[in-house]
């Protein structure tokens, strides 16, 4: 009986992926305990976040990919409408217009688009799988550009870049020609210096600080400088769990959310960092494997995009905390405190499991 319930519950759960996710969540809780100043309240809140997110994962994993494919366009259109709604009626918080009040719930439509955009593009290219041509890619780029620009205007540069990345992965995996990619890359490289000369001094300064935070040590650079000090002082083996002085003494700003990796790196050192990268590699590898063996075009494009977006989150977050990428608001996947990003993430991972576990149904 129990075995049957377990089987039916775990029918659409990928064991390998699930174990790595659980492992990452456990690590996340441990770091959060340290970073959050041993706050039990915050642990409880995050535990609730995890339960909700895992439920979302389970539900999504049980939805067959074909259903997801049919939902792609409605979700995209809904997301787009909400984004327009935010632009018109959104609530301003911290100088940005990101939230929308819908009666009792307050939602952040840009989060929806993190999944909605790759789903729509995968749906779009699945429709044109036989002959994806340049015009389809241009159309895809347009479908991508609209939400990206809307989110960028909020302004939320970090999220808009992540949405752009998730869409770009679909275009890329759908066979966007190398010549086109190289061409666009080359023209950006050529145009950048010209654009640079056209900017105002203060605009240049902002960009300079974005790439070199040390130019503004008490302002924008403060986070990065404190984070690199935390990481660097962690050394090879780290200061040990709960022993990170930078973390314990409040030097690291946003140390439970976007900068939680600084706490991890300080307490567990370079060895811990490498192990965390390996854990992420396992998740990414499993995702790419699922994509490679997915049977529908929609499935493989979406699985590939979700996996690569997951990778992008991890890379951008760790890159910004360790001072090689500009600071943009991106959480560390599965580790950072916060409900919204975790739910979105689990939604993506649930789709991966759905694609993996519903394969046989498709082929039969």
């Amino acid at each position: 009986m129990i075995e049957r319930i377990y089987l039916s519950l775990s029918k659409h759960i990928d064991g390998f992926l699930m174990s790595t996710i659980i492992l990452a969540l456990v690590v996340g809780m441990a770091v959060l305990y340290s970073a959050g100043g041993h706050s039990v309240g915050r642990m409880q809140a995050q535990a609730i976040n995890i339960v909700i997110a895992l439920s979302v994962l389970w539900v999504t994993a049980n939805v067959p990919p074909q259903h997801l494919q049919r939902l792609a366009l409605p979700i995209y259109v809904l997301g787009l409408l909400l984004l327009v709604g935010v632009a018109l009626f959104g609530e301003i918080s911290n100088g940005a217009r990101r939230w929308l009040h819908l009666g009792v719930v307050r939602i952040q439509p840009s989060e929806i688009m993190k999944i909605g955009v790759p789903m729509l593009l995968a749906w779009y290219f699945a429709r044109h799988e036989a002959s994806p041509r340049l015009q389809h890619h241009l159309m895809g780029a347009l479908l991508l550009a609209v939400p990206v620009v809307l989110v960028m205007k909020q302004p939320d540069l970090g999220t808009s870049l992540l949405i752009a990345a998730s869409g770009f992965y679909v275009l890329f995996l759908a066979g966007l020609s190398w010549r086109f990619i190289l061409g666009v890359g080359a023209s950006i490289a050529v145009a950048a210096p010209i654009l640079w000369t056209m900017l105002h001094d203060y605009q240049r300064r902002r960009i300079e600080i974005l790439f070199d935070p040390y130019q503004d040590p008490l302002g924008a650079g403060y986070h990065t400088i404190q984070a690199t000090i935390a990481l660097g002082s962690g050394g090879l083996a780290g200061k040990g769990w709960l022993n990170g002085t930078q973390a314990q003494l409040d030097f690291i700003p946003e140390r439970t959310t976007d900068f939680i990796f600084a706490v991890f790196g300080e307490e567990f050192g370079m060895l811990g960092n490498i192990l965390l990268l390996l854990l992420y590699l396992l998740i990414i590898g499993r995702g790419l494997f699922i994509a490679a063996y997915a049977q529908s075009t929609f499935g493989r494009l979406l699985a590939g995009s979700i996996t690569m977006t997951f990778f992008t989150y991890a890379f951008v977050n760790i890159g910004m905390v360790s001072g090689i990428l500009p600071v943009v608001g991106v959480p560390l996947p599965l580790i950072s405190y916060g409900g919204t990003s975790l739910v979105t993430l689990m939604l993506g991972l649930g789709i991966l499991m759905s694609i993996k576990t519903h394969k046989k149904l498709v082929s039969s």
Binding site: A130, T245, Y280
Partner: protein, 643 residues
């Protein structure tokens, strides 16, 4: 075969897709490789660097400011002490909209116009990142009310600070001095002295008087706490600490009652009085009138008060005993007399027949006596008693300027006395060499003549005059004048007495001293120029009066007609010591525009001496004193032009 084609396409597509996945995988590995090498760089190669930074981040040395030493008068009356005060302080650099912030604060804690003016002045004087008091002396209620709303005001803080307070107010303000906020110049001085680290955490430093001279003793040694702090600079816990050493207490030779008597005796007139114990050099009274309230300066004076004090015609901020320079006039005569006697001239029974003027040999110019008809037959003793100018014109001429000034400088003229207050003016004892250097002009014999009666270039401070009088009263033994008699360690309670210090011993023949002293005692007796001072005194007073011309009017001063007349009047000078046989006190008094040394300056000295020698408090009836009939000869002004 569409299905075949579809199948081929499908396979082809999957094939292409896997190539793309491979490319993506390579991207992932490359990016993670970059991260891993970044970890290696930060956590292995640069580990020590960041380890140091992290330690610096974590541990901060916080200074603990020592309590400033207290200042007492000779009877233990507190002249300067400290008390805790809540101040509301703003760091302008941390505040976005200063005006708005101050407006918001005013809603919680009253901020007066004066507070704002003072704040603006301090703000202009200080760096942006230094916290500047907006209001001090907050009540407990005000402090609590602000504390509740503190979160609304980043960059605004309530601090409990030790405040300096001068309970006697204006009394002796010039000698006690005051403390003020450390400015750039102070920082430069501290850096040069290597004391800067001891002032970490200190906001104030002595700015004048005792507070400045004994800064090192009063300040104490700053302690430190090694604290773990968070990034906001809040201390999390103390790791180790070195306790501060409180500053030492100072006990002054001043008697505050006597000081008060001296100050009140001026009755609103401008001037100075210095009283010295001739045997020790202890300064018993140090009066500079008008005075000011040093409490105004402690936390930065507001511009209105500053303007009032700084631009007042009465110049209350001028430390007259130290910085006020006046021609000594006839008060120089006893010293010139001694110079002559020691040079073997004018010894009794030598006398001259004074016709009312002196002329240089072969010249017709007449150097007039203040008494047009002359004093008749005058010997040395009588010359001092009646202040005969003609007698001293001739003596000075005969001695020559070099011999005269050589002798006078032993009494401290033209030199700093070495008192324990900074910024002393050394006055001026003119010589031909000085004149040539200063004016590129030769010395004229007529200038020597008028130097003999204390006119011409000669300038003295009230302190110098009192010091010279004390040296004479002490039979030529010069004691260093000083205000602090002992320094008390706050912790051990052990006092180090400041030993009287002999500066110089002038070899004077006792008979010469006796002669001049007797003549000076006669000054306060019928027939002398200060008979009013000696009237009814149970002890004998040796004294000399003097009058100094007010030379020109200082620029930038605008008076109405009445004032011009008043401020053009001569300065009245008076020196005395008593009891004449066994001097316990030597006094010099200058009353600006007081006209007559005997009648205006003399009675002030008498009140101080009466208190010191007899313990007598003044009757507080200046009207009665003024009603006394003016005794016969009162000095005239010496208005002779130079040769």
């Amino acid at each position: 075969m569409p299905s075949y084609l579809e199948f081929r396409n499908h396979q082809r597509e999957q094939y292409d897709f896997r190539w793309r996945l491979l490319a993506a995988s390579i991207l992932v590995l490359c990016c993670f490789g970059i991260l891993a090498s970044r970890f290696y760089y930060l956590q292995v190669m640069r580990y020590e660097h960041y380890q140091t930074l992290a330690d610096n981040n974590r541990i901060s040395i916080v200074p603990t400011v020592p309590n400033r030493g207290l200042i007492f008068d000779r009877n233990g009356v507190v002249l300067a002490h400290n008390y805790f005060v809540y101040t509301l302080e703003i760091t302008p650099g941390k505040v976005d909209d200063l005006e708005q912030t101050i407006a918001d604060i005013s809603a919680l804690v009253p901020v007066s116009k004066l507070d704002r003016k003072r704040f603006n002045k301090l703000r202009a004087e200080n760096h942006n990142f230094i916290s500047v008091p907006l209001r001090s002396h907050l009540t407990e209620t005000e402090a609590a009310r602000f504390a509740v709303h503190r979160y609304r005001f980043p960059g605004v803080e309530i601090r409990a600070r030790l405040f300096r307070h001068y309970p006697q107010g204006t009394l002796g303000a010039h000698l006690i001095g005051y403390i003020g906020r450390i400015n750039d110049k102070d920082i430069k001085n501290l850096t040069e002295a290597g004391d800067l680290s001891n002032y970490k955490g200190s906001d104030h430093i002595g700015k004048g008087g005792i507070e400045q001279y004994y800064e090192r003793e009063l300040h104490g040694v700053t302690g430190s706490q090694q604290v773990e702090i968070d990034a906001d600079g809040h201390a999390v816990r103390v790791l180790s600490s070195v306790a501060p050493v409180a500053g030492e207490n100072l006990i002054l030779s001043i008697d505050s009652t006597m000081q008060k008597i001296g100050e009140e005796a001026f009755a609103g007139r401008r001037g100075a009085l210095v009283a010295i114990d001739p045997k020790t050099g202890e300064i018993l009274s140090y009066v500079s009138q008008p005075s000011f309230d040093p409490n105004l300066f402690v936390d930065g004076i507001d511009s209105e008060n500053w303007k009032a004090l700084n631009e007042s015609l009465d110049r209350p901020l001028v430390n007259r005993p130290l910085h006020g320079v006046y021609p000594p006039g006839s008060t120089l005569k006893p010293f010139v007399a001694l110079a002559g006697l020691e040079a073997g001239r004018r010894e009794p029974p030598f006398s001259i027949s004074d016709a009312g003027y002196f002329s240089l040999p072969g010249k017709t110019h007449r150097y007039r006596d203040w008494k047009p008809a002359g004093h008749g037959q005058v010997d040395m003793r009588r010359a001092i008693t009646v202040s005969c100018d003609t007698f001293f014109y001739g003596l000075a001429h005969e001695m020559g300027i070099d011999r005269l000034t050589d002798f006078l400088q032993h009494f401290g003229f033209g030199q700093k006395t070495g008192i324990d207050i900074q910024g002393e003016n050394g006055g001026l004892l003119p010589t031909p060499a000085w004149k040539w250097k200063r004016w590129k002009q030769p010395w004229y014999p007529g200038e020597t003549v008028i130097t003999g009666i204390g006119q011409g270039y000669t300038l003295v401070t009230p302190l110098q005059l009192a010091h010279a009088t004390a040296i004479f009263a002490n039979n030529g033994v010069a004691m260093r004048p000083h205000l602090v008699t002992s320094i008390q360690n706050n912790r051990t309670g052990i006092s180090r007495p400041v030993k009287p210090q002999v500066m110089d011993q002038i070899a004077l023949a006792p008979k010469h001293i006796d002669l001049v002293r007797e003549a000076m005692v006669d000054v306060t007796r019928p027939g002398g120029t200060a008979v009013i001072v000696g009237a009814g005194s149970p002890y004998s007073i040796a004294a000399k009066t003097g009058t100094a011309q007010v030379i020109g009017i200082k620029q930038n001063e605008k008076y109405d007609e009445k004032n011009i007349a008043e401020r053009h009047r001569d300065h009245a000078l008076f020196i005395a010591y008593a009891p004449a046989e066994d001097p316990k006190i030597a006094v010099a008094v200058i009353v600006e525009n007081g006209s007559h040394g005997g009648s205006t300056a003399g009675p002030i000295a008498r009140k101080v001496m009466d208190y010191y020698l007899l313990g007598k408090l003044p009757d507080a009836q200046p009207a009665a004193a003024a009603a006394l009939p003016a005794p016969e000869p009162i000095e005239e002004e010496h208005s002779e032009a130079h040769d």
